[in-house]
Amino acid sequence: MASLKVRITFPEEQIKEPVIYQIGKEYKVVTNIRRADVTEKTGWVDLELIGETKEVEKAVAGLKKKGVKVDLIERNVIE
């Protein structure tokens, strides 16, 4: 099982969408929220995605496809 810690950031037009619920339904991943700050304009959620590596990767791609920004919890590690 793989675990990936990410921060997802919602643009205003996605705020009302239940994307975390949808990702959990569409891919075989467990979503586990740790911290969040969501307002009517924007928001971010620190989230752990747990599942087989391929499913986690597909879930990340799926989140991006839904229009939310996905960043590693470490932010950029390329230095």
Partner: protein
């Protein structure tokens, strides 16, 4: 009691054992080493430091290792130069340059953090080290790993220029060129770090690795005769360097080695990748990630891990953050070279140009003792100055043509 107490979450304060961990399992905040300053104070004095090795290891009690250092024994103790010529040009009476272009062995400040990271990695029993990098970090990790006999993996985006890769291949690491964009490389590295027992210096070893940057502050204070500067100008990539320079000065004060510092900490970014500068100018706490587009590749971190903390440090100390365009960066490289004889890479151009800008704007006072941190050698980014530093004077092989072309008159 040992000098390190625990890893502590910078957000929620939860404590963790001193292991290769970097993220709080509860709130996902970054972890940092907590020290036992009472114990350190008992073994560290100005005299003990001055009697130590001529390297960053003279400050070993304030670095996150448990035994004797084993990797990067000659890193650090780079010159602090009283930059009178540049100061005259910028109207700064007490300007100093901390010249990490001559760090050992790979000519950038990364030799400091990697020396600490790989020493710690060895203490943990790792036989493989890794990093994700587009330049300086890869160079330093590969070089130190070669010397230390550690297996080394360097991850790069596959579209990285060939020249940058050659400088890594010479040390014989495994360079993995990942098809995909920077986000993909980032994600893959995080996954690899989670699955393999490797010391990923800027992932699972990051709390220890980042502490190496404090040595720039320690050396500066010692080289100034055990005093803190009034103002420092520091390039911002991940933001870690800036926060650690401030932390280093605070630690020296905590141990009574210098007076309580009132150092203004200012940051330098490229306009083509200035998320922290933008947040500073907008008065925001939130760092909005950007897609980098700048010649200053070593500062091209669009979503900086420590951006928030760097911003906080600058605001708390009364410093500023400014950004400069690519042409200003090239001018900065040229200015530093023609005034002080120091050839810096593009990050040094950013720092010099921002230093000049802050001086012009009156944000650095003429009388402030100011230190600018120049973090990497110009030979690493020679392409940046191509076409902007003039050309050679071509002549025929005759004395008369030489004199005619250069309009010289012989001494009589």
């Amino acid at each position: 009691m040992t000098k390190m107490k625990a890893l502590v979450c910078r957000e929620c304060g939860k404590r963790y054992p001193l292991e290769p961990l970097h993220v709080c399992e509860f709130c996902f905040g970054p972890l940092e080493v907590e020290y036992n300053y009472d114990a350190i104070g008992r073994e560290m004095s100005r005299a003990s430091i001055e009697a130590g090795p001529k390297s960053l290891w003279r400050y070993a009690p304030l670095l996150p290792i448990e035994k004797e250092p084993t990797v990067g024994l000659y890193a650090g103790m780079t010159p602090l130069i009283h930059a009178k010529n540049l100061g005259r040009e910028l109207g700064l009476d007490r300007l100093y340059i901390k010249n990490d272009t001559v760090n050992h062995p790979t000519l950038s400040f990364k030799d400091r953090v990697v020396a600490v990271a790989l020493t710690r990695a060895r203490e943990f029993g790792f036989d493989t080290v890794a990093c994700a990098s587009t330049g300086n970090l890869a160079n330093s990790v590969a070089s130190h790993a070669a010397q230390a006999g550690l297996r080394c993996f360097v991850f790069i985006p596959s579209d990285l220029e060939a020249g940058k890769i050659l400088g890594n291949l010479v040390y014989r690491p495994t360079v993995v060129a990942v098809e995909g964009n920077y986000d993909d490389v980032n994600r893959l590295c995080s996954e690899v770090a989670g699955e393999y027992r490797w010391a990923f210096v800027n992932i699972n070893i990051r709390p220890y690795y980042a502490e190496g940057s404090k040595t720039l502050a320690f050396e500066t204070a010692e080289q100034l005769g055990w005093t803190a500067p009034d103002h420092v100008v520091v390039p911002i990539a991940s933001g870690s360097l800036l926060t650690k320079i401030r932390k280093g000065l605070m630690e020296l004060a905590k141990l009574g080695l210098i007076d309580q510092p009132h150092t203004k900490v200012s940051g330098a970014q490229a306009a083509g990748c200035g998320p922290v500068a933008t947040a500073f100018e907008a008065g925001r706490d939130f760092i909005k990630p950007v897609t980098p587009k700048t010649i200053a590749k070593s500062l091209a971190i669009g979503n900086p891990a420590d951006g928030y903390y760097a911003l906080k440090a600058v605001r708390e100390t009364g410093g500023s953050i400014a950004s400069v365009s690519d042409s200003e960066i090239v001018e900065g490289i040229s200015l530093l070279a023609r005034t002080e004889g120091i050839f810096a890479e593009t990050a040094g151009g950013v720092t010099t140009a921002v230093l000049a800008k802050l001086a012009r704007q009156g944000k650095i006072d003429r009388r402030e003792l100011t230190v600018a941190y120049i973090t990497g050698h110009g030979l690493k980014t020679q392409e940046a100055i191509a076409g902007s530093v003039g050309d050679v004077v071509r002549i025929q092989p005759s004395l008369s043509h030489f004199e005619q072309t250069l309009q010289l008159k012989r001494d009589t």
